[in-house]
């Protein structure tokens, strides 16, 4: 099957074939593309970026992201979790807001420096 690697802006077009002893990937310009193809076939994951609301002046919302990739099917549950969260003080960039999101061992970190 055909697949487009989303790891980097190169967007390599991958030809992926399931074989008896695993997965055969062609068209990847780097190793990460091969890993992507295998994960995409078994358990597709995504890193998610969004924002959470705050009560801090000048920052109605602050941007956040997962510090790794979470399974695709958990994205909507994750987004609901974020919508219930309110940040009530200034925190430095990279602060963990929520630990172990939906049992994935992945954390939510802030990505904006609140000056």
């Amino acid at each position: 099957m055909e697949m487009v690697c989303i790891v980097c802006p190169n967007g390599c077009r991958l030809q992926v074939e399931k074989t008896s002893d695993g997965v055969n990937v062609r068209g990847a310009r780097c190793k990460r593309g091969e890993i992507f193809a295998v994960t995409e076939l078994t358990c597709p994951t995504r890193s998610v970026t969004s924002s959470v609301r705050t009560t801090v002046a000048d920052y109605p919302v602050v941007s956040v992201r997962t510090d790794g990739e979470i399974p695709k099917e958990k994205i909507s549950k994750f987004i609901r979790l974020l919508s219930e969260f309110t940040l009530d003080k200034k925190v430095p960039i990279g602060t963990i807001l929520i630990k172990d999101v939906c049992g994935t061992k992945i954390n939510v970190i802030t990505t904006t420096e609140m000056e």
């Binding site: 487009v4 980097c8 802006p9 890193s47 924002s51 000048d58 109605p60 992201r65």
Partner: protein, 411 residues
């Protein structure tokens, strides 16, 4: 105050230019908004810095790395400041409005890092009512990611450029219904990975060769009329259909911001719509440099920073008389930057960016000087949305012929 260099714009290009220039010059950085970072502040999605840092950062994180570095320099930063006038009277004199009132600054050199602007409804002539609910993708992004406000609940997105695709995903995640992304061209404009991770992941349909031909709504947008277009992108009569929505997001292209460049009589390339420059980001107006998206619209911020550094680095060097030789393009180029070489300065590793004018496969880029080949590279595929970058070494070439040709042809 008198500075060696004034950098206008505190986005990725301006930050990189100011940091680099500060190593051997006094620098004033002027930024219109309250905070540095430019458009990166609102680009909270990840994918920034893959080339430069080998990491997938979000926009604010990418900007933060440069802002942190800038704080270690002696660059004077003036935020909330808008340049209203530039004139030349021996040196350059700038007038800018800031919280303290009207201020002036003098400098020997100016670096334009003013970024680009979005095309609007007027830029693409959409007929219809004058209702609310029509946003450019950037303003919708600002509302959601900075102000924390939803622009609407049921959105149609026109334009498949990266910002349009990213906003389709962003609005979906925030609970809006995105009915579809419509694109007048027969091929998508954004990066392929964004088509996949922003649209296909969320089952958002992409309609090619289709555009919005009318907006309908008494106060708020209620409907848009969609039409198929022919191969010249003209709407085909009889193919109209109505889509109910309360929001239209326009992601229909970016144009370098040239207002100050025009005041400085900087010559603009009709292909890039940014300044003509040599390999040092030096425009045809002496001592005025241009970089980043003000020079040509990039798809990767890494290259925006790179051109900022080129401008910053070279603006520090003492002024010498230039000898400019045009770089002629042959074949299916949309554009190539730099458009000329200053053969009196370093011609060693000339970073050259280019785009093909249409989707091409098996292309060979050849650079010749006076008919003699000095560089060639093969590309399996070239598409207009994806900019290419090559480094060309002209140092061994005999530039006295003044004939530099970049050619694209099939191999």
């Amino acid at each position: 105050m008198k500075y060696d260099i004034v950098v206008i714009g505190g986005g990725p290009a301006g930050l990189a230019a100011a940091i680099r220039a500060s190593k051997s010059a006094s620098v004033l950085l002027i930024e219109r908004e309250a905070r540095l970072g430019g458009i990166l502040k609102q680009c909270i999605h990840d994918g920034f810095g893959v080339v430069r840092f080998g990491e997938k950062l979000s926009g604010p994180e990418y900007a933060h790395r440069f802002i942190k570095e800038l704080r270690q320099t002696n660059v004077t930063v003036s935020t909330f400041s808008f340049v209203t006038n530039v004139c030349k009277d021996g040196c350059y004199k700038l007038t800018y409005v800031c919280r303290d009132g009207v201020r002036t600054a003098e400098c020997d050199k100016i670096i334009l890092a003013t970024g680009c602007r979005e095309r609007t409804r007027n830029g693409i002539f959409i007929q219809g009512d004058r209702c609310s609910g029509i946003y450019t993708a950037g303003s919708a992004q600002n509302l959601v990611n900075i102000m924390g406000v939803m622009p609407g609940r049921k959105a149609v997105i026109l334009g498949s450029g990266d910002i349009g695709l990213i906003m389709a995903r962003r609005l979906t995640l925030e609970g809006a219904q995105v009915i579809g992304v419509y694109e007048a061209k027969p091929t998508p404009s954004g990066l392929t990975r964004n088509i996949h991770q922003c649209l296909y992941d969320f089952n958002i349909p992409l309609h090619l060769s289709t555009t919005v031909t009318r907006v309908i709504g008494s106060n708020r947008l209620e409907q848009v009329e969609i039409s198929r277009v022919d191969d010249k992108m003209r709407p085909i009569a009889g193919t109209e259909s109505i889509v109910n929505c309360d929001t239209l997001v326009l992601a229909v292209g970016l144009i370098p911001e040239n207002e100050l460049a025009n005041d400085l009589s900087v010559r603009v390339d009709p292909k890039t719509k940014g300044a003509f420059v040599d390999q040092n980001c030096h425009t045809l107006t002496d001592n005025v440099y241009a970089c980043g998206n003000a020079l040509h619209v990039n798809d990767l911020v890494d290259y925006v920073s790179e051109s900022g550094e080129t401008a910053g680095e070279n603006a520090c060097k003492p002024t010498r008389e230039r000898k400019l030789v045009p770089v002629t393009t042959k074949g299916k180029f949309l554009y190539a930057v730099p458009q000329m070489l200053d053969v009196h300065s370093d011609v060693g590793g000339v970073i050259t960016y280019f785009r093909a004018s249409e989707e091409l496969s098996k292309q060979q880029l050849t650079v010749t000087v006076g008919g003699k080949e000095i560089f060639s590279k093969r590309f399996a595929k070239l598409i207009p949305p994806e900019m290419e970058r090559v480094v060309i070494d002209y140092s061994q070439a005999d530039l006295s012929s003044e004939q530099i040709v970049m050619e694209l042809k099939e191999w």
